[in-house]
Symmetry: C2
DNA sequence: TATCGTTGTGCAAACGATTACACAAACGAT
DNA sequence: ATCGTTTGTGTAATCGTTTGCACAACGATA
């Protein structure tokens, strides 16, 4: 209520005002500590009056616990990541944990950024980016066991992680497309050097192999609509494929647009197009994408579960695997 | 390099290892402080060897500057906000400022969350949500002058802010639609109680008034695709409008889909549909939306400029206004 | 009434940095 | 050789909490 008071009042000052010691102030704000309930009520009243709140920085220094969580991500603007991050941020906040977002395109900047965040003594680190090697993560956050949310093969078995298995779902999708008469498949990758992308491709390649088929063409984009569009144009000009599996939903939408607009081919009759992620947009009427979809809420529940186990002192490593399921749309 | 060492080494310990005092350690890490360059080099070498980095929490406590920035947003998942946040996060990180995201749907939770963040002594607060009253922001962050990025009329003149003016752009868009022969307009609001939404509506209403026209119908959604779709269906069933101005791009896409799918009306001949924001998706071939667009990069540049002035000690208040310009698509 | 928990509070030492002040050494100028 | 200045380093206080320890007051028990 102090309006535009510049400086924040400290526990020592509040102690003087309430006629107690600063230790007692502290106890008034700690749920289970020996303090008379009358004293606590009085202190809380005075605190409210003067707008006092314990300084979390000082508290963190003393406690050795900051209640900060670093989230290392590739991009916020990408819908899939944005949807997941939104879910995770809500779950963290409900637990009084504050998320610090580390978002960086460039590799060396990213490491710098991770080092910076590690100096803030974050309690947890969640790494969504497979652009970060596990070893770097462990080195930089050596006091905080990170949680890796990605698909890199674990060369370091001491790190908690959450993985996704889309083999079965990819199989279902390929079965249907083959049943629909398509035989000539292309894979439109999200990135050239990503483990996630290689793994996702393998799910589909294995499914194709069971039909005695293989990818006839490949292209690489960057998970963006524009790259999906552009690479699809090139791809469809140079090879006569009738089915394109894309690295994510946004690229699939780009590829669908390219096929329709530039090549005059419509889904699913002329060409089948498949996305991956299962973002909300995939279900919009204008897209209605067939996609290998992940339950993002369950995914983030898993992340939080690992965090809670770490908080409880059980540092694992914990490993959770979630399955992807097809979302059937009109593009394949 | 210490691998999986549990505890982090402190400056005092490093001091012992390097044969200096902890004050000297501190000086080695402060760019312009009196220290022999030989000593500094030696300390930095030893520090690297033992993986020492100054503890930012302790540093913040002493400095009274945390280099944390609170970002209060409505949603991360919404593409417009996600795109802006991405740009802002990059700009902050380039200045060694770490963003803490506060994202909350519920109002009382949001205030709680802001109070929590304020205990972390954030250096700056950027409020993107017009669901937060300016007075609440000022009360909660009374030691940190917040920056309001929204459109609420400023009853408190002491707050820096960035505003958007779309009056001219809305005029251009309305002029064109009227020139195309449309006369019956509807406004599909983003939210019922939002200042931003009222202001945006006014830009278009004023432009219509100059043609002697007014909105014939109104509906309220929640900025989501689904609400755009659903409200458009209801709206177009109960009134024969031939142009719909939407609160944002995502709703416009929903309305366009509804018109096409449910009513069988196509843009722009049967009906004109206009969005607002100018998100990347508006430019995708499948959407190609006519929209009142904002230069998000310039917008975030403005935010950062105000932050830099605050950092330089000039707390203003500063006020920057940016104009919106039309993006011409095939929907209107 | 003497004794023994229990309860509530204060004192003071952490937590890990930064920085004003003091001081010694080194240096240049006279 | 002496003085003044600059340079580099250490000492100790500080930032705002939390918490182990000590202790007084209190009611319950024997």
């Amino acid at each position: 209520m102090s309006g535009t008071n510049r400086r924040r009042i400290t526990s020592k000052e509040l102690a003087k005002l309430a006629g107690v010691s600063s230790a007692t102030i502290s106890r008034a704000f700690s749920p289970d500590s020996r303090i008379g309930s009358a004293t606590r009520d009085r202190i809380l009243a005075v605190a409210r009056e003067y707008g006092y709140q314990p300084n979390a920085i000082a508290r963190s220094l003393n406690n050795q616990r900051s209640r900060l969580v670093a989230l290392v991500v590739n991009a916020i603007g990408n819908p899939c990541e944005a949807e997941e991050q939104q879910l995770l941020v809500h779950r963290l906040q409900a637990r009084q944990l504050l998320p610090i977002i580390l978002c960086c395109a460039d590799h060396s900047d990213r490491l710098q950024l991770m080092r910076l965040a590690s100096t803030y003594q974050v309690d947890h680190v969640v790494i969504f980016s497979d652009m970060v090697s596990m070893q770097d993560a462990v080195d930089i956050f050596h006091t905080t066991k990170p949680i890796i949310v990605s698909f890199e093969p674990l060369e370091n078995e001491d790190v908690s992680n959450i993985r996704i298995d889309g083999a079965a779902g990819a199989g279902e999708i390929i079965d249907k497309i083959v049943a629909d008469g398509k035989r000539r498949f292309a894979y439109l990758s999200g990135t050239k050097s990503s483990w996630i992308d290689k793994l996702r491709r393998k799910w589909f390649a294995d499914a194709l192999a069971r039909h005695g088929l293989a990818f006839e063409a490949e292209a690489f984009g960057d998970y963006s609509y524009d790259s999906g569009f552009k690479e699809a144009v090139l791809l469809l000009h140079r090879s006569k494929v009738d089915a394109v599996i894309c690295g994510n939903d946004v690229m699939a939408i780009g590829a669908r647009d390219a096929a329709r607009r530039v090549l005059g081919k419509n889904t699913p009759n002329d060409i089948a197009i498949v996305g991956q992620d299962g973002i909300a947009m995939a279900g919009w009427d204008c897209n209605d994408l067939t996609t290998l979809s992940l339950d993002h809420a369950a995914f983030m529940d898993a992340v939080v579960e690992v965090i809670e186990r770490h908080e409880a002192g059980d540092e694992g490593p914990h490993s959770i695997t979630l399955a992807c399921t097809p979302r059937w749309g009109s593009t394949a």
